[in-house]
C-alpha cells in the first residue's frame, strides 16, 4: 500500500518521492509481468517499461481510482501488448473448455497439483483469463479492483475468472493423467 502522501509528493514533481514510490511497487509490477509473460527476461523488460511509464505519467493519475489498480492497468496493458506481438491470437471462444466430470474424482481431489503444472496451465489460458487470474491470486485483487484495472464490467470479470478456473481444472487434470498438454 503506497502512502497517499508519497503519491502526492511524486505528482508534484519530487523526483526522490517518485523513485521511492517506484521502489515500493516494483515487486508488484514484476510479479504480474512474470506470471503474465512466463519468463524472467520478458518480465524484466515489461517491468522496466511499466515503471518508466508510471514515472512519466504520474501526473495523470487521479485519486478517484486506486493507485494499485492504476499501476496494474499499466503493466497488464504492456504485457498484453507484448504477448500479442509474440503469440498468435487465440480467441476466448476457441479456448473455451467445458468442464467434464472426472472419471476418477477421488484421485484428482486427493493429489495436489505441481506448482510447475499450475504455472504452465496459467500460461495456456487466454490473455484476459490469465490476467484476471493473476490479479486475483498474485495481487489479491477483488472483482471490483480487477474490473477497474482492466476497465472491464464487473460481470465480465466474474465470467473470465470462473471460466479460467474451469479451464485450469481441466488442464491440470490432463497434466496429472499425462494427457494432452499445451
Amino acid at each position: 500500500m503506497v502512502a497517499p502522501e508519497l503519491i502526492k509528493a511524486a505528482q508534484t514533481g519530487d523526483r526522490d518521492a517518485l523513485i521511492t514510490l517506484l521502489r515500493e511497487i516494483e515487486s508488484h509490477v514484476y510479479r504480474t509481468a512474470y506470471y503474465l509473460l512466463g519468463n524472467q527476461e520478458d518480465a524484466m523488460d515489461a517491468s522496466q517499461e511499466a515503471l518508466i511509464r508510471i514515472y512519466t505519467r504520474i501526473e495523470t493519475y487521479e485519486e478517484k481510482a486506486m493507485f494499485k489498480t492504476w499501476v496494474q492497468r499499466i503493466v497488464t496493458n504492456i504485457c498484453i501488448d507484448k504477448f500479442r506481438k509474440t503469440k498468435p491470437s487465440v480467441s476466448i471462444e476457441e479456448h473455451e473448455l467445458v468442464f467434464h466430470a472426472s472419471d476418477n474424482v477421488e484421485q484428482s481431489v486427493l493429489s495436489s497439483y505441481l506448482a510447475t503444472d499450475i504455472r504452465r496451465a496459467i500460461e495456456q489460458l487466454p490473455d484476459h483469463h490469465r490476467t484476471v487470474v493473476v490479479l486475483r491470486y498474485l495481487q489479491q485483487f477483488s472483482y471490483h479492483e480487477i474490473a477497474e484495472s482492466l476497465n472491464l464490467p464487473l460481470n465480465t470479470v466474474k465470467s473470465y475468472l470462473f471460466r479460467a478456473r474451469k479451464q485450469l481444472q481441466t488442464l491440470l487434470q490432463d497434466y496429472q493423467k499425462g494427457g494432452v498438454r499445451g
Binding site: 514533481g13 521511492t20 497439483y113
Partner: protein, 455 residues
C-alpha cells in the same frame, strides 16, 4: 439446472462474495449432490494452489536498472538521493549520489577517469613547480660543486649541513639518504623512474658513492606500519611528494639545501655528487645532477631490501604501478587460496601481492570491511564486466550495464558480502560473512553462468 446455479455460487464462495442466504443455499445443495460436493472440493484445492503460488521478486532492482533512463521531470529539481533506497541495492562509493549509482557503469568509469585525470593534473602541477624551481636547484648544485672545490667552503658547508640535519630531525632522513644515494637505496625504489623519487635520488655513479652513504638505510622507503588500504597505497608517494615540495620550497626561500648537502656529501664526496651539469637534461630528470643517466644504472634490489619493500611502496600515482607488479599480482592469486582473504571490499584496480594476499593486515582488514558494509563495484581487469551487490545478491553486469549474472541466493541483511576479485574476465570471487563470523567464498563462472562454493 440447480447444479449450474450452484456452480456459480461455489465460484463466488472462493472470492468471498456470498451472502449468508446464498451460503446456506449452496451448503444445502451440496449435502444432497455428491458431484457438486466433489466439484467444490476440487475448486478449493485449485484456489489453495493458486494462492500459494510463489511471489516472485525481480533478480535485481528494476528501478536501479532504469534510473539512467528516467528523464528529469520538467521544471523540477533533479534527484539528489532517494529517501528510501535500500543500502544494499546501491553498492557504490559514497561520493556518488545513490540515486544515480547503479545503472551507470559509464558514470563510474567517468568518475575513475576524473580521479586519474586529477592525479595526472597534480603530477603536472608538481612538474611545473619543479621546473620553475629548476634554476634554484641548479644553483644549489652549482653551489655545492663550488663548495666542494673549495676546502674552506666545504668545511663550512659541512658544519651548515650538519646543523641542518640535526635541526631537521627525522624529516631529513629521506633527504640524507637520497643525497647519499646508496645503491641499496636506489635499488629499493622501483618507482624511482618517476620524477618525484628521482628528485631525491641523484644518480651518482656507483664508483663515486661513499661507503657512508651506501650504509644508510633507504630513507625513501619508510618501513613504518601501513595504516589502511588507501593510505597504504598512497602514503609513500605522498611522503615523497611532500618531501620534494618541502625541499624545493625551502630552497626557493634560501634555506640550506637539505636535499643536496647532506653530512655525508659534505664530508668529502661532494665533488663527485655534484658533478658537471649536463646541458641536455630534461626537466623530468632535473635532479639527476651527476650527469646523463646511464641505461645500465638501473639498480637492482638487494635481498634485504626486497624483503622490506612491497610493490605498493613504489606506487606514486604519477608513474603508475611498476610494470612488473601487474602480471604477478591480481585476482588469480586470490583464487588459489580463497580462505586466506578476509572480507575486504576491494577497490577497483587494487591487486594482490603475488602469492601473499594481504599479509600482516588482518586487523586493518577487519576495520576496512566493517567500514565498507556496502562493497563498491569491482571491475574486471579489462573493464568488460563489473560486479556489485544489489539487494543482497551478487550481480555482474557487462560494460553497458546489462545483467550477465545474478546470484541465485539472496543473502540476508545481516550477512555481509565482500567482493574479492576477478579471475580474468569471466571469473569472479566473492565472500559472504555471517553474523557468527563464519565465511563462505563463492566463485562465479561467467562462462557457465553459475557459482560454486570455494571452501
Amino acid at each position: 439446472m440447480m447444479c449450474r446455479q450452484m456452480e456459480e455460487l461455489m465460484q463466488r464462495e472462493l472470492d468471498h462474495d456470498l451472502d449468508p442466504y446464498e451460503t446456506e443455499l449452496m451448503h444445502a445443495h451440496i449435502r444432497q449432490c455428491p458431484e457438486c460436493a466433489a466439484w467444490r472440493s476440487r475448486l478449493h484445492r485449485l484456489a489453495e494452489e493458486l494462492e500459494s503460488l510463489p511471489h516472485v521478486a525481480p533478480p535485481y532492482s528494476v528501478v536501479d536498472s532504469i534510473l539512467d533512463r528516467l528523464p528529469d521531470l520538467q521544471g523540477k529539481p533533479p534527484a539528489a538521493a532517494p529517501a528510501a533506497v535500500p543500502p544494499v541495492v546501491t553498492p557504490l562509493a559514497a561520493e556518488e549520489p545513490p540515486a544515480e549509482r547503479p545503472a551507470s557503469p559509464g558514470r563510474r568509469r567517468r568518475s575513475l577517469y576524473w580521479t586519474t585525470a586529477g592525479g595526472a593534473a597534480a603530477c603536472l602541477a608538481l612538474g611545473i613547480f619543479l621546473f620553475q624551481n629548476y634554476g634554484d636547484m641548479r644553483q644549489d648544485a652549482r653551489g655545492i660543486h663550488e663548495m666542494a672545490l673549495s676546502p674552506k667552503a666545504q668545511k663550512s658547508s659541512a658544519d651548515q649541513a650538519g646543523s641542518a640535519a640535526k635541526s631537521s630531525g627525522s624529516q631529513s632522513t629521506p633527504v640524507d639518504s637520497a643525497a647519499g644515494s646508496s645503491p641499496a637505496a636506489e635499488s629499493s625504489t622501483p618507482g624511482s623512474r618517476d620524477g618525484a623519487v628521482r628528485m631525491l635520488t641523484p644518480d651518482t655513479p656507483a664508483s663515486e658513492r661513499t661507503p657512508a652513504a651506501s650504509a644508510k638505510p633507504p630513507g625513501l622507503l619508510p618501513t613504518t606500519p601501513q595504516p589502511s588500504a588507501d593510505t597504504r597505497t598512497l602514503a609513500p608517494s605522498a611522503t615523497a611528494f611532500s618531501d620534494a615540495v618541502q625541499n624545493s620550497a625551502a630552497k626557493s626561500k634560501g634555506a640550506p639545501p637539505e636535499g643536496t648537502v647532506s653530512p655525508a656529501a659534505s664530508a668529502g664526496d661532494a665533488p663527485a655528487t655534484a658533478g658537471p651539469e649536463s646541458p641536455a637534461r630534461t626537466p623530468g630528470k632535473l635532479l639527476t645532477d651527476a650527469g646523463v643517466p646511464k641505461a645500465n644504472e638501473t639498480p637492482q634490489p638487494t635481498k634485504g631490501d626486497q624483503g622490506k619493500q612491497t610493490p605498493r611502496e613504489s606506487v606514486l600515482g604519477i608513474a603508475g604501478l611498476p610494470e612488473e607488479e601487474t602480471p604477478e599480482a591480481g585476482p588469480g592469486a586470490v583464487l588459489t587460496e580463497p580462505g586466506r582473504f578476509p572480507g575486504i571490499a576491494w577497490l577497483p584496480g587494487l591487486t594482490l601481492a603475488p602469492g601473499s594476499g594481504l599479509p600482516d593486515d588482518s586487523a586493518q582488514d577487519k576495520t576496512t570491511a566493517a567500514d565498507a558494509a556496502v562493497p563498491a563495484p569491482v571491475y574486471s581487469p579489462q573493464g568488460t564486466h563489473f560486479a556489485s551487490a544489489e539487494q543482497q545478491r551478487v550481480v555482474i553486469r557487462d560494460e553497458r550495464g546489462q545483467l550477465v549474472f545474478a546470484s541465485t541466493h539472496q543473502w540476508a541483511d545481516h550477512e555481509r558480502i565482500a567482493l574479492l576479485g576477478w579471475k580474468q574476465e569471466n571469473g569472479f570471487l566473492y565472500e559472504v560473512t555471517r553474523p557468527d563470523g563464519s565465511r563462505q567464498a563463492y566463485f562465479v563462472d561467467l562462462s557457465q553462468k553459475r557459482e560454486v562454493p570455494q571452501n
